[in-house]
């Protein structure tokens, strides 16, 4: 039982972590809480659905031939990439239309309220385009496989799709960590997050770094949305529902800290998973609230706040 709770928590947490990374990166560079980030998750998921239909049609139509033990074929992987690119473009357009203009003259609170408005508009437009009924990438049934036998810690079962989500999330997090630590672009992002004025006199094009931050954050959000749709279902509220866990994860980890967002995401995921047997599935979402309140009371700067600075 305990192993299953941990595994479920890590799977949910990996999706939250990917979303929280983008949120915390945007905050550390642009200094505002972007409430529209949840909508990048939703748009990423639905754009992948659109591209999935395109790639299936490109392959001659019909059913998608699954790859090995998974419920999906190559078309979903291609749709994931295309959806992520399209979401990055959406983020750049939103920055150009709204945030870039407001940041030149407005304070953080103006940008935050603007992001509320953008989130509402994006969510309603998504519902207008795709409808409000749940959608699925695939209707293939997946049987959970035994990874740990039942007599060891209550056993552990997971579907191949869930393992794929966990594995790819891990690859992306490690890749992002190496990007931020080892590459010039990654170091430039850390430099701008720390001190934009010093970054400018060092020769860093801050506007370009901000654009790349939007692109990276939106790509990770789109992947998170596609993962959420793959192991669950697609709904227009998918991003809105993830917003609170994203903020809880980002605050728990320490706003501005990428490793903090990952650890925070996994902790929030584990808390949500543990809440199911303890207080019931209907209160699962309350676990993120509980974690958020506890952090704000005990350690408002978050776990990794010092590193974030």
């Amino acid at each position: 039982m305990i192993l299953q709770i941990i595994a479920d928590g890590l799977i949910v947490g990996s999706t939250i972590a990917l979303g929280a990374i983008g949120l915390t990166m945007t905050y550390s560079l642009l200094r505002f809480a972007n409430f529209a980030h949840g909508e990048f998750i939703a748009w990423g998921a639905y754009l992948a659905l659109t591209f999935l239909g395109f790639f299936i049609a490109l392959g001659g139509g019909g059913a998608m031939a699954p790859l090995g033990p998974f419920s999906f074929g190559w078309q979903l992987l291609a749709a994931l990439v295309a959806g992520a690119i399209a979401t990055a473009l959406l983020a750049l357009v939103l920055d150009w239309l709204l945030f870039d203009r407001l940041s030149a003259q407005g304070s953080a609170i103006v940008l935050t309220i603007a992001s509320f408005g953008a989130a509402l508009a994006l969510r309603n437009f998504l519902q207008f385009v795709y409808g409000s009924l749940p959608a699925y990438y695939t209707r293939e049934l997946q049987i959970a496989i035994h990874i740990v036998p039942r007599d060891v810690g209550g056993g552990l079962r997971a579907t191949p799709d869930q393992l794929f989500v966990l594995g790819l999330a891990l690859v992306l997090v490690v890749g992002l960590h190496l990007f931020l630590q080892r590459t010039t672009a990654g170091r430039a992002m850390r430099a701008v997050a720390h001190n934009p004025a010093l970054a400018r006199v060092t020769g860093i094009d801050v506007a370009s770094v901000v654009r790349w931050t939007w692109i990276l954050g939106a790509i990770l959000a789109a992947v998170a949305g596609t993962f959420a749709g793959l192991v669950g279902q697609l709904r227009p509220q998918i991003g809105f529902d993830l917003l609170l866990p994203l903020f809880a994860a980002a605050i728990l980890g320490g706003i501005g800290s990428v490793p903090g967002a990952v650890i925070g995401g996994l902790i929030v995921g584990l808390a949500e998973s543990a809440a199911v047997p303890l207080i019931g599935a209907e209160y699962r979402a309350a676990a993120a609230f509980g974690v958020l309140i506890a952090i704000l009371l005990v350690r408002p700067q978050g776990l990794f706040a010092e590193r974030a600075k």
Binding site: R187, H194, A197, L198, R200, I204, D205
Partner: protein, 242 residues
């Protein structure tokens, strides 16, 4: 010696219509150290930041060599050969010493493998601390790193905003000795300082900024005469005296 930086009738400030620098003019030759002095609120730091592209310029001219740079973006100025060391928060604390320097080299398209050993030779303390986060350095080491970071792209002009702030007298002496070495290599240095004595000890000239204008531009030895600077810093006080 050729003029490395020429500032003419510069007006600059943070808010439109509210100039803090009001018609300042100054020239610095290659290899020369000029100390920019003045009372608090005279506009010294604002002038330095305006030249570096961090504060809006309303009018006037700034030439880097033959090139007009007034109003250019800060990151382009850094790449064009104008190094700036801010007074505070002048290193990237979460990055290691080596990462600070490698980043500056990468954005300026300078070969780090070639340039960094030269800078480590100039600042041996940094070589020993290259794997340490800049945020954990002492005040003196930070100042060395800030100078080294600005020197990575081989700038023609180096502007330092109060590099002695927060340093012990011994560290100030050490830092200014390094500045003299840097200038001797042909870099024009504009030294914005409150520590008048230390600044004039290494500077060829001193420029006194009062109410946003260069009031006096004279050889350093002339400004070291007791009482001269006090009169220049507070000209109105002298006029009002009985």
């Amino acid at each position: 010696m050729s003029t490395a930086l020429a500032i003419a009738e510069l007006e600059a400030g943070y808010e439109p219509g509210l100039a803090i620098v009001r018609g300042a003019s100054l020239e610095i030759a290659a290899g020369e150290i000029v100390a920019l002095l003045g009372p608090n609120g005279a506009g010294k730091s604002t002038l330095a930041k305006a030249v570096a592209g961090l504060v809006p310029i309303f009018s006037g001219s700034v030439r880097l060599g033959e090139k007009e740079i007034a109003g250019a973006q800060a990151h382009l100025l850094a790449r064009a050969g104008l190094g700036f060391v801010p007074q505070t928060e002048n290193v990237f604390a979460p990055l290691t010493v080596a990462e600070n320097l490698e980043l500056a080299a990468a954005v300026a398209h300078v070969k780090a493998k070639q340039r960094l050993p030269e800078l480590y030779a100039l600042f041996p303390d940094l070589a020993k601390a290259r794997r340490i986060d800049a945020g954990r350095l002492s005040g003196g080491q930070r100042q060395m790193l800030a100078m080294a970071r600005a020197l990575v792209p081989n700038p023609r002009v180096l502007i330092l905003d109060e590099p002695s702030a927060g340093l012990s007298p011994k560290l100030v002496e050490h830092a200014f000795a390094k500045l003299a070495e840097i200038a001797a290599s042909g870099v024009a240095v504009l030294l914005v300082e409150q520590n008048v004595k230390a600044a004039l000890a290494i500077a060829a000239r001193g420029a006194v900024l009062v109410e946003g204008r260069v009031h006096v531009d004279a050889p350093a030895r002339d400004l070291q005469v007791p009482g001269v600077l006090e009169r220049l810093f507070f000209p109105h006080a002298e006029a009002a005296a009985p």
